[in-house]
Symmetry: C2
């Protein structure tokens, strides 16, 4: 009586989790967090219209969702002035990243990203047997020139770039991204992750033809739209690539409730504007708290602030542990030298009061 037989690629994969969620930590510590500022969720919540739409749809969830995502695609199409066949909707950017990697990366195929960039993308690349080539951040920014050079050197299938980037919160101008396309090797797809683009200054999004076959852009309802737990992301790209998602995607994988919520959220631009302002205020407040405690907030075009703790990774880790001890859920998803930092998501004033009270204690403990 034997068990199933795994292919070699699968047998070698670790049973890993890219992130440990706050609920797991809460069960371990035996108490809920007092402030949830670790996953760049939008604590300001979704648009009230989105909440109402989801509540109205709850009783209708006996129906499978529209597998073509027609309504949401057409709303995005009208707003972004791209054609419906330039748009793919998926169960969050995470699912779309998985589909994209599956579409392009065969075992051994090279993929380029920054060392310390989004772990879930790396998880998918490794999961499909791709070979990751990592380029260091430069002055706390993703190094576009080095990414393109590495892509050319290894003949990459995909080069990943997030703008604004997570976890540093830094950003490049749209013009610089446009220029990077000139250096993109033939046959390499630029995967531009714009999960935080709504928070960024005007001019951060590049002006690129949606039909350009060299690039796919990904955006999400998880951040500025406050719907991380509803799982809605989208990609913008050339019709051939977009259509190819139909080869691998889970066609009926979308929640009908989430579809309705995302549509209402997308149309409520006033709420989006308000969240962007609330996040900007929160960034300022986090910066003020950090400076008052002798730490250095890094500039951010996102809904979080990366705070330089001014010493090495061990020290930042101790500060993080102290914050968690005080009931503040934060993370430090960094590699050296970024690991001198901790990352604080934009919170409500009440959340940041808790953070502000916890930080001096955490620092005192970390400094022994």
């Amino acid at each position: 009586m034997t068990g199933p037989r795994y292919p070699e690629l699968i047998a070698k994969l670790p049973s890993s989790v890219p992130f440990v969620g706050p609920e797991v930590q809460e069960r371990q510590r035996g108490a809920p967090f007092l402030a949830r500022l670790g996953a760049n969720e939008s604590v300001f919540g979704p648009s009230p219209f989105a909440v109402a739409a989801m509540q109205d749809t709850a009783g209708q969830c006996w129906q499978y969702a529209d597998a073509t995502n027609y309504d949401l695609i057409h709303a995005i199409s009208a707003h972004m002035r791209v054609r419906p066949d330039n748009i793919i909707i998926g169960e969050g950017i995470d699912a779309l990243l998985g589909y994209l990697v599956r579409l392009l990366v065969a075992p051994g195929d090279p993929v380029v990203t920054s060392d310390g960039a989004y772990p879930t993308f790396n998880y998918h690349v490794v999961g499909y047997g791709g070979t990751l080539h990592k380029v260091p951040f430069k002055n706390d920014h993703e190094d576009i020139d080095a990414l393109m050079a590495k892509a050319a050197e290894v003949d990459a299938k995909i080069v990943y770039l997030s703008n604004p980037d997570n976890p540093m919160g830094s950003w490049h101008s749209g013009a610089k991204i446009e220029k990077a396309l000139e250096a993109l090797p033939d046959g390499t797809l630029l995967l531009l992750d714009e999960a935080y683009i709504e928070f960024a200054p005007s001019g951060t999004a590049p002006d690129i033809d949606a039909n350009d076959p060299r690039i796919i852009r990904m955006r999400t309802f998880s951040k500025a739209y406050g719907m991380a737990g509803a799982r809605v992301g989208y990609g913008i790209g050339a019709p051939d690539l977009i259509k190819s998602f139909d080869k691998v995607r889970n066609h009926f994988g979308m929640s009908r409730i989430s579809q309705a919520g995302a549509l209402a959220a997308y149309e409520d631009t006033a709420w989006l504007d308000e969240v962007i302002e609330l996040a900007a205020n929160a960034r300022d407040r986090i910066g003020t708290i950090a400076k008052a405690n002798g730490l250095t907030p890094l500039p951010s075009a996102t809904n979080f602030v990366t705070v330089d703790c001014g010493a090495d990774g061990a020290f930042a880790k101790a500060v993080l542990a102290g914050l968690i001890q005080e009931g503040v859920f934060v993370r430090m998803p960094f590699v050296s030298p970024g690991d001198r930092c901790i990352r604080i998501s934009a919170g409500r004033p009440s959340d940041l009061d808790i953070f502000g009270a916890a930080l001096p204690k955490a620092l005192a403990t970390a400094r022994g």
Copy 2:
């Protein structure tokens, strides 16, 4: 300026959709369906407690879901008397099928199923480059002996069996499934799809140790629990296999709203019992309507009735077209000789009134 480069396996895949959804057909016909009886959705809806739980959670969907699905896993664990590490939760059975195929099927690996069984499973097998071997239905039942014999012949990685089965609605006793395990070849995993098990007579579910490494069972909140559009399914299997899903799954892929709804639905056994009774009444009514029109309803242990139209596939197709013309969404996902049938989902009395009025017209048109 070239586009991305697809691996050979992907380049050869069709951009296909396993099912065309009713919304697509509604847009094509320019009018909504009057009765939605084609996808075996539970038109009776989810438990009112599940609806309330989802409504209460809508405003909290700014939080990612608990990636470990702790609460739902522990509820299922307690109810089914299996350990938490015997359970995997996923974004519907469709997603779990995709993960399972990815875990076990390398290009060229053989997989066995019945000819005419669940197309989405086949979609995943083909998508990962597996080789499908299909066994005919026997007397409108999945042919367990032939499935096991074929699995042995081709040295299958997986053999798929649904019980009760879709699309015929037929079923085998749990004792027969238990006995089938004796004939299962070494190294072949039995994938037992129990999506409709709640509707089946007592004794249809086999009594199998959840730690048996030879089998994985899949169940869903899409059918009896009325939450198809919320995307929650689960698998029961040996801990090694269950843990391996962490190698490939979208850890944060669950909707937080759906998690809350599924938990409340699972605990509302009174609603489940009511739905099972409503579905039984609907099956009787569909049978009565079919017989009154000279057609033969097949026995069913599900929330649908497969109706033998008494002639060939072309005739059944004409009947189906007539029903759709009359505003009744139904399907005939069959291969010969099953394609003499159409499939009607259990509806409310008002839905079946519409079906009952439409069927004579559809038959008259089909008979020319």
